[in-house]
């Protein structure tokens, strides 16, 4: 595996070569097709978003009829939503759980990814292989024993119970391990010669170099925690502790669901992940770079 740095890549990507004029008409058609394909894909990808936003401005009956144009019921829907859902509390729960879980996951899983890659030993390789296999066990299969554990620890209906089982994420450990393969070992060697201890190398050398990997992982982990459904459903008992994902899901299964109001809620619930994505996306594309080398 080469350890080309990102700067070099961007440099070579930016190299432009003159357009071969002989095949110009053919190229033009192909270029047109590429734009068409991408536009269709982009349209299909964005359409449900558009639909969701439009739905949030329409009354439930119009949503059911499939009305696809902006309506005037945005404030009605907002009022219904805020009257029925204790939004500050519920969004606080979601945010608190997602932020704390993301921070802990990044720390614990990146430490492990670094450890597995930098300090290879036969035993740890075996353990890593086993972890990859365990990645495939459906969560539903582990839920009851997990619940027993948390109820014995008197932690049912706490944030801790939601967060703890997610923070050592095999997928993220795997991701960080792959990313670490692109981490230039010369940097670590140089730091060692300078007398830095292993934890100092991790904090002062590895962390800054890998910040784009962290950015990518932040989006993935935040998204997963924000949308987490099954485990919070089982372990959070009282209404005031629930997350927005749980509350929205319950609203959709009311006897007479108010779809305008629900879609207003989903727009709100999608905002945090969208914002994080927009803030971090430039780094995200780079961040994935390391992982897949």
């Amino acid at each position: 595996m080469t350890s080309t740095t990102m700067a070099e890549n961007t440099g070579s990507a930016a190299t432009k070569v003159g357009v071969a004029t002989s095949a110009a008409p053919f190229r033009l058609i192909r270029r047109g097709l590429v734009y068409l394909l991408l536009s269709i894909a982009a349209f299909i990808s964005v359409f449900p978003f558009y639909w969701m936003i439009v739905g949030a401005t329409n009354l439930s009956a119009d949503v059911i009829r499939g009305k696809a144009t902006l309506g005037g019921a945005l404030f009605t829907n907002a009022a219904t939503f805020f009257a029925q859902v204790d939004a500050p509390r519920i969004f606080f729960n979601s945010a608190f759980i997602a932020v704390v879980a993301t921070a802990l996951t990044l720390v614990i899983s990146s430490l492990a990814g670094y450890g597995f890659e930098m300090f290879r030993s036969r035993v740890r390789e075996r353990i890593f292989g086993l972890l990859l296999l365990l990645l495939s066990i459906p969560f539903a299969a582990m839920m009851v024993p997990l619940f027993v554990m948390f109820s014995q620890a008197k932690l049912v209906n706490t944030y801790v119970a939601v967060i703890l089982p997610t923070v050592a994420s095999i997928f993220i450990i795997f991701y960080f391990r792959q990313a670490t393969k692109a981490f230039p070992t010369e940097l670590r060697d140089a730091a060692k010669i300078d007398g830095l201890k292993e934890w100092q190398i991790f904090v002062f050398v590895y962390l800054p170099v890998m910040r784009s990997t962290y950015a990518a992982a932040t989006i993935i982990v935040f998204m997963a925690n924000w949308n987490n459904y099954l485990w919070p459903l089982i372990v959070l008992q009282t209404a005031e502790n629930k997350t927005i994902t749980l509350i929205l899901s319950a609203l959709t299964s009311a006897y007479t669901p108010d779809y305008g109001m629900i879609l207003f809620g989903t727009v709100l619930a999608t905002l945090p992940t969208l914002i994080i994505f927009f803030l971090l996306q430039r780094r995200f594309v780079e961040g994935m770079l390391g992982a897949v080398k």
């Binding site: 190299t15 696809a68 899983s109 450890g115 597995f116 994902t245 996306q281």
Partner: protein, 298 residues
């Protein structure tokens, strides 16, 4: 990667780095998994369990719902994973062209679906796939179909709808991996090939694909696991039924039903969970073998 044997101090450091994760995984994963492995040898309902040896495995072979769930899961896996990976590759290659305008816009648009909250996604998709929904109306407007398709009242179309939905949600996610990897490839190789008159498809086939092989392997493993554990879409789109007629029930949904919906039959649901582990184990092993063989031969 050949590396010198670690000394004692480094061994200790290595363990220190992985220890927090391993302790947590040991508590919250290994223990439940060992428990579920033990349960898979138990038979009975609710809390009245007794040791049943291989009775649960025998039961699997005679259970029509399990066989349907296994079949559906494989259908989703065999049809959806290649479609998604090919699409993701195409988009990535198209977006990798640095002369393309609006790259950021396209990239963001195509990535958006995987950021959506599950509830938003399923609410919106359910209404789009309704009999009078926008998808049927659009298809009828362009005369692709004469009468509305009953997306979730027809066993075949229900599968198609699920496949469309997962593809919608995860193609952009996979695309980003390829895009990142493509940016890693030295552009001069392409230019050289282009100047030598190698046609585009051949460049794609003989340059891009081989260079992306590790990434394709990575995404395939992740997508395989994801598809074999498929639950969210079928649970939300079919009101937890996996219908019509079990045509969309997956192994994960069946496990959920056996645990929470039916008379709780833990031992048996644990056994079904282990089927996924075994299948993923075999598939991943095969995928790694194929990748290794190719790497050797090339």
């Amino acid at each position: 990667m050949a590396q010198a044997r670690l000394d004692r101090r480094e061994q200790v450091t290595g363990w220190t780095f992985v220890a927090p994760a391993l302790i947590l995984l040991g508590l919250f994963m290994i223990y439940p998994i060992v428990w579920s492995l033990w349960m898979s040898f138990q038979v009975g309902k609710g809390m009245n369990l007794s040791f049943g040896g291989f009775a649960n495995i025998m039961r699997l072979t005679k259970d029509p719902v399990f066989l349907r769930a296994l079949g559906n899961t494989f259908t989703f896996f065999i049809v959806q994973v290649p479609i998604m990976i090919v699409l993701a590759l195409l988009f990535a290659v198209a977006l990798n062209d640095s002369t393309l305008k609006f790259r950021g816009l396209f990239r963001t648009a195509i990535f958006l679906p995987c950021v959506t909250s599950l509830i938003a996604y399923s609410t919106v998709f359910k209404s789009m796939f309704a009999t009078d929904g926008i998808i049927n109306e659009a298809l009828m407007a362009v005369h692709l179909i004469g009468a509305p398709i009953g997306w979730f009242s027809d066993p075949f179309w229900a599968k198609v709808a699920i496949i469309l939905a997962i593809t919608w949600r995860w193609t952009g996610y996979n695309m980003i991996f390829y895009l990142a990897a493509l940016q890693n490839i030295d552009r001069s190789i392409y230019e050289a090939a282009r100047i030598d008159g190698v046609p585009a498809w051949a460049r794609f086939r003989y340059l891009t694909i081989p260079m992306l092989k590790p990434v394709i392997l990575f995404t395939t493993v992740i997508s395989t696991i994801g598809t074999l554990q498929l639950f969210d879409e079928v649970y939300n789109f079919t009101a937890g039924n996996g219908g019509p007629s079990d045509s969309t029930i997956t192994l994960s949904l069946y496990i959920y039903n056996l645990t929470f919906k039916f008379m709780p039959s833990f031992g048996y649901s644990a056994t079904v969970s282990w089927v996924i582990v075994v299948v993923v184990g075999i598939l991943s092993f095969m995928q790694f073998l194929i990748a290794r063989d190719r790497r050797r031969s090339s």
